[in-house]
């Protein structure tokens, strides 16, 4: 008899909003800034559109891409690039469960 599965389940990739993020809502979406550690304030401030703002809001407690897409009201494949960009900019953090 063969075991039904010998490989562990693939971890589900989740994202959460960077807890060091400072943000303000504006009519066009959101302005965010990563809190700086340096007195020289090498911070970047990003202006994000309404879709990105809704993804950040949805990622407050950690969410999968599918959850984020559902919250933003768009198909999952439409936010892949956005989520990747937000993660690269450290606005979102990858967490793996």
């Amino acid at each position: 008899m063969t075991s039904p599965c010998t490989e562990p389940a693939r971890p589900v990739e989740q994202f959460r909003t960077n807890p060091r993020l400072l943000r303000r809502r504006v009519a066009s979406g959101m302005v965010v800034c990563l809190a700086a550690e340096s007195v020289y304030q090498d911070v970047r401030v990003l202006r994000l559109d309404a879709l990105a703002a809704s993804v950040i809001d949805a990622a407050q407690r950690g969410a999968t891409r599918a959850d984020l897409a559902a919250a933003a009201g768009v198909p999952a494949n439409e936010i892949d690039t956005l989520v990747g960009g937000l993660a690269a900019a450290r606005v979102l953090e990858r967490v793996t469960s």
């Binding site: 807890p19 060091r20 993020l21 400072l22 943000r23 303000r24 809502r25 504006v26 009519a27 066009s28 302005v31 965010v32 800034c33 990563l34 809190a35 700086a36 550690e37 340096s38 007195v39 020289y40 304030q41 911070v43 401030v45 202006r47």
Partner: protein, 389 residues
Amino acid sequence: MTTGLVLPPPPPSPSSQMAIAAGPFAALGLAAASTATSPAGLEADEWDALLARLTDEHLAGIVLDGADRGLVSLRDDQHEALLAVHEAAMVATLRLESFLLVVRNLLGERGLDMRVLKGPSCAHLDYEQPELRAFTDIDVLVRGEQFDAVAACLSAAGMQRRFDEPRPGFTARFGKGVCFTAANGLELDVHRALTAGPFGLGDASALWRRSDSFVLAGSSVECLAREERAVAAAVHACLGSTAPRLVPLRDVAQILSQEVDIDRVISVSDELGVRSVLARAILLARATLALDAPLAGEAWALGYRPTRRERQLLHAYITDDRSYAGQMLAGARAVKGLGARVEYVRALALPNRDYLDDREHRYGTRARRAARLITGRSRGAQRRQDGTP
């Protein structure tokens, strides 16, 4: 007979002489707000003037929020213009909050206490959304006995101290504080007291007994407790400039429109020696913002009878010829204790050489300037007493 605090209106700033009053815009969203003129019906030049004023007073967020709530109507182009101003203000605000965290960490690592004043604390604790309260610098209160250590810490971190003090230790004991500029141009006002001069010489320990806190990027930041924030907002609104700015007045109205222990507010103002300032700020907020309903403490403020001395001290701040030097001179009368008063006067009359070189250059010139201020103030006080213009 003494007169009450229903003082003549403050001299209008040039921009407030325009046709559209900006005060009601600063009150948008408050339950007691009156109806503001809807910008949608304004002519181009009227709108340009109003936009300039709203920008200068940092009110874009409040007006946009008022439009969202249907309290005022905006044309599309007006909405776009305000949005651009608001977005720029929010960018600045976030950079400042990030800077605040740096300062908090610097001081915290050295065991130095700090309480946030004004902007960030009001934005996060008093307004419905932090987006409604923009600010352009960071203000923190530090303990007088730790003031010099704080200044040394910030200087060591690369911040530039904007002004010297007349003699070592003067600010820690008698001064309002000092402004520091970071390498990127952001400004930090480090306060020992809420204001300069006689109204800043009360017992600042009243501000340190309690505190509130708010969370920034996962970090808890301490600030004044609500009633103390109300007093600080009143001092800022009433004494911060000759013509009161609208956001500090909105802060006063915002805090006093919520659940607040007004007896405690008055008691704190008493300990700080600024009861007349609080009373005037409450009345100014009601009148300038054109509120339809009274604020907490308004009955007390209407009945408050400032002493002759309080009225004289107020004039060091609210007249057209207000100056830092004039306020510091007026402070000589408010310093408690003969020894302390002698030290205060000696430091101002005979400052160290660097301080003098940045200003009058010669002790004689400084003495003549002081004499002019004293005699000018005396003549002004006499005119006010006589009721002559």
